[in-house]
Symmetry: C2
């Protein structure tokens, strides 16, 4: 019985003795409807409390004015920051955003891709799971030429639009920074190598060591999901026996912060005894004591580029515009107290 109040353009048409097509056109500001009619229609629409039905319009037009977004989790700084930007930018373009979290589960990601396809989103933005190595669940989008953009955690060997940070340079810069500040035995705590961006940071780390003629040792690098618990456990391993490292480059800030807490517990001074660099420039790095050096990834810029790329794809759905390409967002090292110390000459060996 409650449904009696839902007005449609048919109601407007009847009320005004016009045809539905005229009403539809009037509401959409079609140029060949007279100004007077438009006015009448809009007034009546307001009077009746008419609300357009996006489902019906979407069905007819084959577009929903909705974009899907899949991120690992919304509670982590970097994806949250990007989601915010994307949401606000898309709003300006008149698009809605369906934000979904995969919780870093491959199965959930697959399920989400399918429901978002069913929802007939006009485009999909994804930062993949840590463990996504098979990308065939995105085929529906790619093969149907529905705009598809990946950011940050992006696929390897899958032709698609990609916007990522400069992770190689990030790893290289972070490590070089530690070396320049005097570190000679640097541990790297990395995410799992199934995720491409960690691979690149590791490559940057290695390359920095090499360039400064420092030995690379497999035992000085750890691969793990970068959670607080794992960080703590790894610290226990690292500091179970001497010699202690004099620097740690952690591939996220949660890990870096946890390392610092561990150091406090075992009375290791940061930065005097151990220097730490994190990744992402999470605001938390600034409020801990001492503040932690980190690698900024310019989330705002990345978010804006994602939306720009998406809108390009959306508007050029059938033109021959290239559906894939890779864009690299720069990084910047933000030096803070956790890696302070005299910049030492780096060419001479210890």
């Amino acid at each position: 019985m409650s449904k009696r109040t839902e007005k449609t353009i048919v109601d407007i048409a009847e009320e005004l003795k016009l045809s539905v097509s005229t009403v539809s056109r009037a509401l959409n500001d079609n140029p060949n409807i007279s100004a007077r009619t438009k006015d009448k229609v809009k007034k009546m629409a307001r009077k009746l409390g008419y609300r357009p039905n996006a489902l019906a319009a979407g069905l007819r037009n084959n577009k929903s004015k909705t974009i899907g977004l899949i991120v690992p989790r919304i509670s982590m700084f970097f994806p949250a920051a990007i989601s915010t930007i994307i949401q606000n930018k898309l709003q300006e373009h008149g698009y809605n955003l369906i934000i979904c979290q995969s919780n870093d589960s491959y199965e959930q990601e697959v399920a989400l891709v399918n429901t978002l396809y069913s929802a007939r989103v006009d485009g999909l933005v994804v930062s993949t799971t840590l463990y996504t190595t098979d990308f065939s669940h995105f085929d529906v989008f790619r093969d149907n030429h529905i705009p598809l953009v990946f950011f940050d955690r992006v696929p390897k060997d899958y032709n698609v639009k990609v916007i990522k940070g400069d992770d190689y340079l990030g790893g290289f810069t972070a490590t070089s920074h530690l070396i320049e500040r005097g570190c000679r035995d640097i541990v790297h705590i990395s995410g799992p190598l199934t995720c491409n961006l960690y691979l690149e940071r590791v490559a940057g780390y290695k390359s920095a060591l090499q360039q400064h003629k420092l030995p690379f040792r497999k035992s000085r690098i750890f691969y793990q999901e970068l959670t607080r618990d794992n960080a703590w456990q790894t610290c226990e391993k690292i500091f179970a026996q001497k010699p202690y490292p004099d620097g740690i480059f952690a591939s996220n800030d949660t890990t870096a912060i946890t390392i610092m807490e561990y150091c406090r517990k075992i009375n290791l001074r940061v930065p005097e005894d151990l220097k730490i660099v994190g990744y992402s420039n999470d605001p938390r790095t600034e409020i801990v004591t001492p503040p932690i050096t980190s690698v900024d990834q310019y989330p705002a810029m990345m978010g804006e580029r994602v939306v720009a790329a998406l809108m390009e794809l959306v508007t050029s759905r059938q033109t021959g515009a290239p559906r894939y390409s890779q864009e690299i967002i720069p990084i910047q090292l933000i030096a803070r107290e956790s890696s302070a110390g005299a910049t030492k000459p780096v060419t001479k060996k210890k």
Copy 2:
């Protein structure tokens, strides 16, 4: 040309020489379709790469299996935590979630409510803007009996389902705690009173003072948007002249953290010279030095209750189930170092 690949149930029907109705029923596991037919249909659906069109189904059924969520911003701890819970819970119920941010702008909130209505969401969950005092933009939902649930920042005098924290008790507990730890001159930094929950916390603050026979002074309470910048400025005001307060109860953790940083800058010892209590139990309170006492609001519980309430409303759309009621989620004070100190007897005056 790309559209040629989009299969529909009509294609399945033709392929199988069945009617579309049979195919539809088969896919929906309707009981009076034979098992053999169901099997055939599902096989063919898979073979053709059929994907249901949620828009069409939604139009026909007058439901979209989608819920809308409006929060001030997704990058703040509390709304982010709740959103995560809500999203994951809804997924279990087979619902999609459209997360939107109002950025604490009333105009944006109004706009979002309208587009979400147009999108024909099956329900709406809202934590309002700081400045929302007129709630008439929600009338469309309320009057059409579309499930509508508010949490945390909830309306006043607007009959609707509400799930909120125990803000009065939170304010009371936080203040009492400071008093018990020896504070006699307690500043309260509150959010704007347009938002109901701050009003209640203020009431709790006052009542605690009164109960311990401490004077309430208007000059010791500040109303502001609880940002980092505002917190810093307020600190400058507070510490521009003596006597300094010996305790501050801040209505969010960002403010509490900023106060602590300010204290470090002016060499005021926390907790010896000044004790601090925040609100929300943001994980950041735990990693700063010293860790900050805060009031936990049980976001997980609140999120779960929100979804439960929503699902109740959704499933009992036309039964006479009450569309409004208020639920209070408990709070708990988490005492940390920022308010440490001997528990002093509180009855005797200074």
